[in-house]
Symmetry: C2
Subunit: 429 residues, 2 copies
């Protein structure tokens, strides 16, 4: 008897197969007994009928508890009422009868569930979210692989607290301090001179004491970087990338989105061209919408929320005040108060999911900015080498995986978008 | 004029195109001048001819230094002597004349090059190695994606020094100690009850004070884990996986292997079935080969080297003394002194690239082993939950990316297999 994955059940109509999985629910109705089995790839109704199913299977049914592990063999049949395939069980093997499972269909508090994250993953919603996460990550990699980018992993451990150590996790590296990465960008800038187009994709860390629905201390980021491009090409690629991800998820994960009761109409509107506006235009628009943001301030979460609710597509905001952007940005030749940065804000109030821009190719400008910001010039010496040996216009961006998952899944908080969330007060299990 | 990547040059024979890149070498021969241009995707010979190429291009040529950044436009022509396409240059734009580049065709010491890793990446060998690394990582992900595995990222930061903290990097997590992961396995074991087949793929860390050619402090590992499998299925998947990776690299990266002067004959022999032997058989064989290993000792690097030189395919070693294996292994029912572990040793002296096995499904056994090893039972309470709620036979393995890259590329040391190596005395740049 072939052991199959539940997701392929419909390919075996009227055939005998074996499924292996866990009991999600069971119920009896007269001579008929039902098990909702989940095997990690789908959920299947298994039916036991007195006089049809094996006696031992019928007896085993009585002892089954939620999350008990079983193997069932039977015939795949179509259930016209549910419009789906189910298994008419003949025999059953019990691997283990589970102790009373601490997560039941009743409501549990978030902290209770987070303490049991290793078990909570089995619930339908968490399952659906993490399947979509996988699809998004796969889409990210495919997008860059298809476009001749080379994956160049940036290091996690780095030697210098270049931008100030207040939000860095520190460790003792054989006697010297080392820090967990916040971004692979500077390393990717080195790699483009070897590979032209690169991306890194790994975990990044921020030791921020903020407790918001948009922050994790450990999160994954994909960061492409390209040589011989300017801001416009960075913006074009970023738009293409975000719409590609949404297309792929809509094409491959409709059933998971349905399970999450995600309204997919707003996702179907995520088509190019996105809305494009300068930071200055965005501030004007925010004033219209009642915000008291001052020109020169960075957007707050609330600003992003009210702005993105105004449009049905993502917003590409560009040309920010240089004063709050990092030292490495190229300036706008038409107005050197502006840095050639770009953010993409996801619609429906989700806000920033992507940030990047054009980097300065000019060593004199970088040295001046490093001095202005009181940064340790020594720590950047290798980075400045990139302008000494074959400097070219270049740029890139970073996309936060968890914020993208939250938006596409329609979740209020990023804590459910990663298997094992790490937050200010959460590092267990 | 289309700006194209050098790798697509042959598609534009007799057409006019623009290339952007860096000067690797230049030379003159009478009326003809040559630039070897690298654009990160390939190396192209660019030819300038007096009376044919533009005057300004011919003048610009004189000032070019190694690593200068340029854009050249011209006609793609076939060079019958080199049997390759080259560019007959018409015009040239210079982005930057590089300062004297510190890495020249002469020999440099490894420490000198490692201090300049951000520039060394541009050399042909490093370029080829990291292109192969990308191909290997992509193959790993494709393999598991094609086989219905769900990517479930394990956390990097964890709360407990479960297996002893001597080789762990520690950080201050808002007042409590936290540790960088050495493996995602325990977390993956939780995830299989939700997804049946999962893998994690991320950086892992070992604060080992060892200085060998096989050790990095930061390295990448892919770790699949499966529910409802026993040791045999783990071994089968591991063999299939390793041969898949080699096939993909041979199919897609022949030119990079050639650039490394890698003899591909040994790689072409990496076909299933691999050589399979128990640990006990391996020890007997090692004695034949002159090793003084005692039954009960783990293999040393030297043992792996002499053993793997005996066979032309990878060796699958299984059933190890339980005494030196971790607490979570399932024991061999026929001989409970043996743990159902499996290692794969790469041929040509490379040794261990993969390790795994069948995990114990039995909570009583695990509790006993945790006590025997004096491990903190509290730290494993969530892990033991996995045996309370739907425990099933399961197993998996981890493959080290850098050791696999070293083997496939034929490198003596793992330090060149990762863009930014971290070792006992190396965390810069």
């Amino acid at each position: 008897m072939p052991v199959i994955l539940a997701k392929y059940l419909k390919d075996y109509l009227n055939k005998e197969v074996t499924l292996q999985g866990w009991v999600r629910l069971k119920r009896s109705s007269g001579k008929i007994k039902f098990i909702e089995l989940r095997d990690g790839t789908a959920f299947v109704q298994c039916v036991l009928v007195k006089g049809v199913s094996g006696l031992e299977a019928l007896e085993s049914f009585e002892g089954l508890t939620q999350e008990s592990a079983i193997e069932v063999t039977g015939t795949v049949q179509h259930n016209p009422r549910n419009k789906t395939e189910e298994l008419l069980v003949n025999t059953m093997k019990v691997y283990q009868i589970a102790e009373p499972f601490p997560i039941t269909p009743k409501e549990h508090g978030v902290e209770y569930l987070m303490d049991r994250r290793h078990l909570w993953l089995r619930s339908r919603r968490q399952w659906a979210i993490l399947r979509i996460r996988h699809e998004i990550i796969k889409a990210c990699r495919c997008f860059f692989d298809e476009r001749d980018f080379t994956l160049i992993d940036s290091p996690i451990l780095g030697p210098s607290a270049a931008e100030g150590s207040s939000t860095l996790f520190e460790t003792d590296y054989f006697g010297d301090p080392a820090y967990l990465t916040q971004s692979g960008q500077l390393y990717s800038e080195a790699a483009i001179a070897a590979f032209k187009k690169v991306y890194c994709f790994g975990p990044t860390f921020r030791a921020e004491k903020s407790k918001t629905r948009r922050h994790l201390t450990e999160f994954w980021m994909v960061e492409p970087e390209m040589a011989f491009v300017t801001l416009n090409e960075v913006m074009d690629l970023a738009e293409e990338f975000v719409s590609y991800i949404v297309d792929i998820v809509l094409a491959n994960r409709k059933s998971e989105l349905a399970l999450l009761e995600r309204d997919i109409e707003p996702l179907e509107k995520v088509k190019r061209p996105f809305v494009r506006m300068t930071y200055t235009e965005a501030v004007d628009k925010l004033h219209e919408l009642g915000s008291d943001i001052k020109w020169g301030d960075d957007f707050g979460g609330d600003d992003e929320t009210i702005l993105t609710r105004e449009y049905d597509r993502p917003i590409v905001v560009h040309r920010f005040p240089a004063s709050f952007k990092a030292f490495y940005f190229e300036l706008d030749k038409e107005n050197p108060e502006l840095a050639l940065g770009v953010d993409i804000l996801a619609p429906e109030g989700y806000g920033e999911i992507l940030g990047g821009g054009e980097r300065s190719a000019d060593i004199e400008h970088l040295l001046k900015r490093i001095e202005e910001e009181n940064l340790p010039a020594d720590a950047y010496d290798w980075y400045l080498d990139l302008r000494r040996y074959g400097s070219v216009p270049h740029g890139g961006f970073g996309l936060g995986v968890e914020r993208t998952v939250a938006w596409i899944c329609g979740l209020h908080h990023v804590r459910e978008t990663i298997p094992w969330p790490r937050m200010l007060s959460r590092i267990y299990p």
